[in-house]
């Protein structure tokens, strides 16, 4: 479900869980381990990519709906661990957003160092509210840092999915590229950083990303309790089941 392709010192981690790279417990754990283990196994930078047309559809809702409270708590803890691994990675990580990137897909991207998105008819956004999930504060913090307090409010409260061109205009992503060049551009970003004096680059990187790492210093039990209470509420369960029904109908 996760392919590893080394391009010299830059390692590509390609999400490969058909059909839409939905994040279940297994993929979350595999990705987190691959990120944490990369510096110790020869990688000097990472590219996180998806399949053409779909970076990641986000959390695997049908799978998660079957979990009980203990299982769901563990799933959220793992996902927080994955976000923290991205935010605090000692080596740079570029997201190669190879297509649509809703919810958890967009979350992965905003904790990376850089985001190249496929141009064209693809959308990205944090539409958690639309399916009844209250926005986790760490994700709000990362979005505020990325696009400013006002845009974060507009996008998160409205649960908006926006086209790639608008995502570039408000700097939710850093660069657009034709789909077939997205990975290469993300590799280029990494290679350029690796060409710089490493101590100065590393020091400056830790400084400039310190606010992102800080988001994870708060005790997360309280955040998780709120999220999990909401998850099992009638509103959220109803909204998610309605979403699944719509998707099933769409597929025919």
């Amino acid at each position: 479900m996760l392919e590893t392709i080394d391009h010299g010192p830059v390692r590509e981690l390609r999400l490969a869980r058909p059909p839409v790279n939905a994040l279940d417990t297994g993929l979350i754990a595999a990705l987190r381990a691959a990120i944490a283990g990369a510096p110790g196994t020869g990688a000097r930078a990472l590219v996180l990519s998806g399949r053409p047309g779909m970076f990641s559809a986000g959390l695997d809702v049908p799978y998660l709906l079957n979990l009980d409270r203990a299982g769901m708590t563990a799933a959220w803890e793992d996902f927080y661990g994955l976000m923290e691994a991205l935010a605090t990675s000692s080596i740079p990580i570029a997201a190669a957003i190879t297509g649509h990137s809703p919810a958890g897909g967009a979350v992965l991207a905003i904790f990376c160092d850089y985001r190249v998105m496929a141009e064209g008819d693809f959308r990205i956004g944090l539409n958690e509210v639309e399916v009844g999930i209250p926005m986790p504060p760490v994700i709000h913090g990362a979005m505020t840092r990325q696009v400013g307090a006002r845009q974060a409010e507009r996008l998160l409260v409205g649960g908006l999915m926006i086209p790639a061109a608008e995502a570039l205009a408000i700097r939710l992503v850093d660069e657009l590229a034709p789909l077939e060049q997205v990975v290469e551009r993300a590799l280029d970003f990494c290679r350029r950083l690796l060409s710089l004096p490493p101590l100065a680059m590393g020091f400056t990187r830790r400084l400039a990303r310190g606010d992102l790492a800080c988001l994870f210093e708060k005790r997360r039990e309280l955040e998780l309790d709120t999220l999990i209470d909401a998850w099992f509420s009638d509103e959220t369960q109803g909204a998610m089941r309605a979403l699944l029904a719509r998707l099933a109908e769409k597929r025919g």
Copy 2:
């Protein structure tokens, strides 16, 4: 001086104090009460609108110039209460900026959830400095949140009034529309939020607007003392009387 028009669950509060919707003690109190009372009387969202061509000219300077220190202290306290009511409202509020929006008019807008402004030859800005009023820190805080520290500095120190198109470009407003559609677009914004799962939307809204509400947690006596000392200074009194003379000359 304040018309109430219910559009289903969205209540429009239309400023209607001729000729320019200047904010005197009465309109400030009426608006504050209408906002605070809305959730308890069936409204699930609010639209704040003005008259075609003029959203609000801001504080009613000729009226306020007649107040003594006690009266002026009460006026500023009421205006802080109005800003706080907007910032902490439990239901969404969209500003339908139907024309020019100087000073206090722009202040109302930046504490709302969303701003639709009439396109064309209309201006918006916080030009308090131009009439000798030092910028209240809570308003500086809200502007910083809206447009970033650097733009807030440029606009507030210079007391700049900017055209609608520039206001959109720096995201001082969120959307432009032909004048006759401004209210409808503001209603649309509210309707869309009301179509979302309400608990998730409400939680995320409180999270994303928490920094705005926080601005009012400081003790405000000190801020108000500074503002009122400045109000009765020769500089401010002179600048405001010069403004009134210019306006009188212009009118005839």
Copy 3:
């Protein structure tokens, strides 16, 4: 090495140290003294300008490479003092960026009230990382305030020099002008601020720039120790000597 030209109440400080206005200990001290002394000697605003084509090349690396640890400590302390003088000046300062503005040149600009840059084929940026200098936290703080956390990360970690047009697009500078009008436009900015009620303008200016002044309230010994340790590291010395070799080769 520093020319003083009074334009009525606005004083122009023109960097004039051939060939590229590199900042050595003498120029840093002269500039700092001229800024601190301006309000007491009749100036009500300042314009900081360079020579046509080159605002300032930043710190004078060949000169600084000859200093021992004590000398280098004194040089960094002076440069911090210069940044603080710009950040906390009681009178407005506009940067007239008359050409290229790498590293220390860009640093001077971001601590000013306003930046007019020459349009055309000129670049500005904080490329310290490229020559092995870890980014000083106060400069990171000023950049974050100027362009937001995300752009600050992108520009500083990558050590990027960007063209004038891009600098305007991300608001690293406030205005572009033809080279021969840059100083005049910077003077215009100052004159406009001086036409406003001075107490209200001054109060609002201190409020809006308070976050910039705050950056200097931290004890700076720790920051300086880190910078000076890095300065004498093999990486930084090597990167700077390589830069000098490239420049020497370029010149012939």
